[in-house]
């Protein structure tokens, strides 16, 4: 029976990648999300061993332990990109 980890990265990740190299030993649970312009990272739950080593390395506190915090609603300045995206979508300013 597989055991899943409980850590996840919310959408305020800035993509610095410090967390990617925090996994210990043979663990390699953190990966960059393919095709994401903002270069954000995610955690493969089936490979995460819940060590939590990645958490203190994050400069924007975007890594959470679902057992302690549940699934938090991300907040803060790094979500404001959505307002710009919505504005650009609404007024069709985006490059084609």
């Amino acid at each position: 029976m597989s055991r899943h980890g409980h850590f996840y990265i919310d959408e305020t990740c800035i993509g610095c990648g410090a967390c990617e190299h925090a996994c210990p030993g043979k663990v390699d649970a953190i990966f960059p999300v393919t095709g994401d312009f903002l270069g954000r990272f995610a955690i493969k739950l089936e490979e995460c061993i819940d060590c939590g080593f990645c958490v203190p390395l994050c400069p924007v506190s975007s890594i959470h332990d679902a057992r302690r915090e549940g699934f938090v609603q991300a907040s803060g300045g790094y979500l404001r990109i959505k307002e710009l995206q919505a504005w650009a979508e609404r007024d069709s300013h985006r490059a084609t």
Binding site: P56, L84, A95
Partner: protein, 402 residues
């Protein structure tokens, strides 16, 4: 000729001044020779000792004695290879001194104490406190930086770049001119401090060297983009004052706060908006790649600043000093970010053309809002309670035309 004129104005007499050609070369060579002659007996004694042994046909082989060495345990790689973190687990190698006392090139963990008296010291190693440079994520960021290096010559599809309308092309080239200007200081600042950091903090120096390389690539890619689109346009006096404030920062931590946490944070906000700012897929690719690099620099800045604050014995006084510094820093960044050479091109690109610059300024207001809130979020993450004292306006300092 320029060097002569500068020499007439006088100079600080520092090595930096020497390198910049402010003093006659013969004069600085005199000083260099005198310094080595002053230490003549120390290094000449080593030379005689070695020469005599060689003449006798004898070997020393003292370096095979492991009595004082941390010899034996072998470093084992983890899943991604052999990391600094892996080798630092070995006894005797991973402890960073709180205050560096080895001001030469003897590697941390080597047998060196018995040779201390015979070794020179490098006067330029002046950043002696670990807390001025260390960040909890610096080794991870170094690994990430190496893994994500890219090539501004080959990794951007330059041959697919198509001309834009004149207004959009000029706006793109002006933005690239401004970003080139900014990237210069982003490389010079870590370079200025890296050589002042003793070798015992080798992990930090390794990371800073990647930052320098990143910034070299950024100025390269923006310069190339401008020249591929018509050319460089106008430099920005307002930005220059901000850049000078960064380079002249009195300490490494203060400068890191101003560069990595504040200024590069602003640049990161612009890059993160790159999907909307860029008008070609080539430009999007440039922004996408640059933002990954920039995120690492911001990340180091936040955790370096946090580390420094957390290790100050007089935390309140330390924070107060940083508030004083931030008062100046925020004002000069505001000066830079109100320059027409920066604001107007982004507005034109966001709006979709010169005729839509007013609409673009609405987008710029959102970029501003992003920047301020991201910046204050970074300050809070570092444990720096800047929000009530921030001198940057929370809303964009301009109005949208009616």
């Amino acid at each position: 000729m320029q060097g002569v004129q500068q020499a007439q104005k006088g100079s600080s007499g520092s090595v930096v001044a020497t390198l910049s050609g402010r003093r006659p070369q013969g004069e600085v060579l005199d000083e260099y020779e005198a310094e080595f002659r002053r230490c003549y007996t120390r290094w000449m004694e080593i030379l005689y000792r070695n020469a005599e042994r060689l003449a006798r046909g004898q070997f020393s082989l003292h370096w095979m004695d492991t009595t004082q060495a941390h010899w034996g345990p072998r470093a084992k790689p983890s899943s991604r290879g052999l990391l600094y973190a892996d080798i630092n687990r070995l006894p005797g190698y991973g402890e960073l001194p709180e205050v560096a006392s080895w001001l030469n090139f003897a590697p941390r963990g080597s047998v060196r104490e018995c040779y201390r008296q015979d070794m020179p010291e490098v006067d330029d190693y002046t950043v002696l406190e670990r807390d001025e440079v260390w960040a909890e994520n610096v080794m991870a960021l170094y690994e990430e930086a190496k893994a994500r290096q890219w090539n501004a010559t080959r990794d951007i599809p330059w041959h697919e770049l198509k001309p834009l309308s004149e207004d959009l092309e000029k706006a793109t080239c002006q933005l690239c001119t401004g970003l080139t200007e900014v990237e210069f200081v982003a490389g010079d600042f870590p370079a200025k401090w890296m050589y002042r950091i003793p070798q015992d903090y080798l992990e930090v120096k390794s990371f800073l060297s990647t930052q320098i390389m990143d910034e070299a690539r950024h100025q390269e890619v923006f310069r190339k983009r401008a020249l591929a689109g018509g050319g460089l346009l106008h430099s920005s006096p307002g930005a220059e004052w901000a850049l000078k404030a960064i380079l002249d920062a009195p300490t490494h931590t203060m400068g890191t706060f101003l560069l990595n946490l504040l200024a590069e944070g602003l640049v990161l906000s612009v890059f993160r908006s790159g999907e909307m700012i860029a008008k070609t897929h080539v430009d999007k690719e440039i922004f996408r790649r640059c933002l990954q690099d920039e995120a690492r620099h911001v990340s180091y800045g936040v955790l370096q600043f946090q580390w420094w604050l957390d290790h100050q014995p007089e935390r309140v006084e330390a924070e107060e000093m940083l508030h004083r510094f931030a008062d100046v820093g925020e004002q000069v960044i505001l000066t830079a970010f109100t320059e027409p050479t920066l604001v107007e091109p982004i507005a034109i690109l966001l709006g979709g053309g010169l005729q839509k610059i007013d609409a673009g300024m609405e987008g710029m207001m959102r970029v501003w809002s992003m920047f301020i809130h991201e910046y204050l979020q970074r300050c809070e993450r570092a444990g720096f309670h800047r929000r009530p004292r921030c001198v940057l306006p929370m809303e964009a300092p301009w109005r949208v035309a009616a």
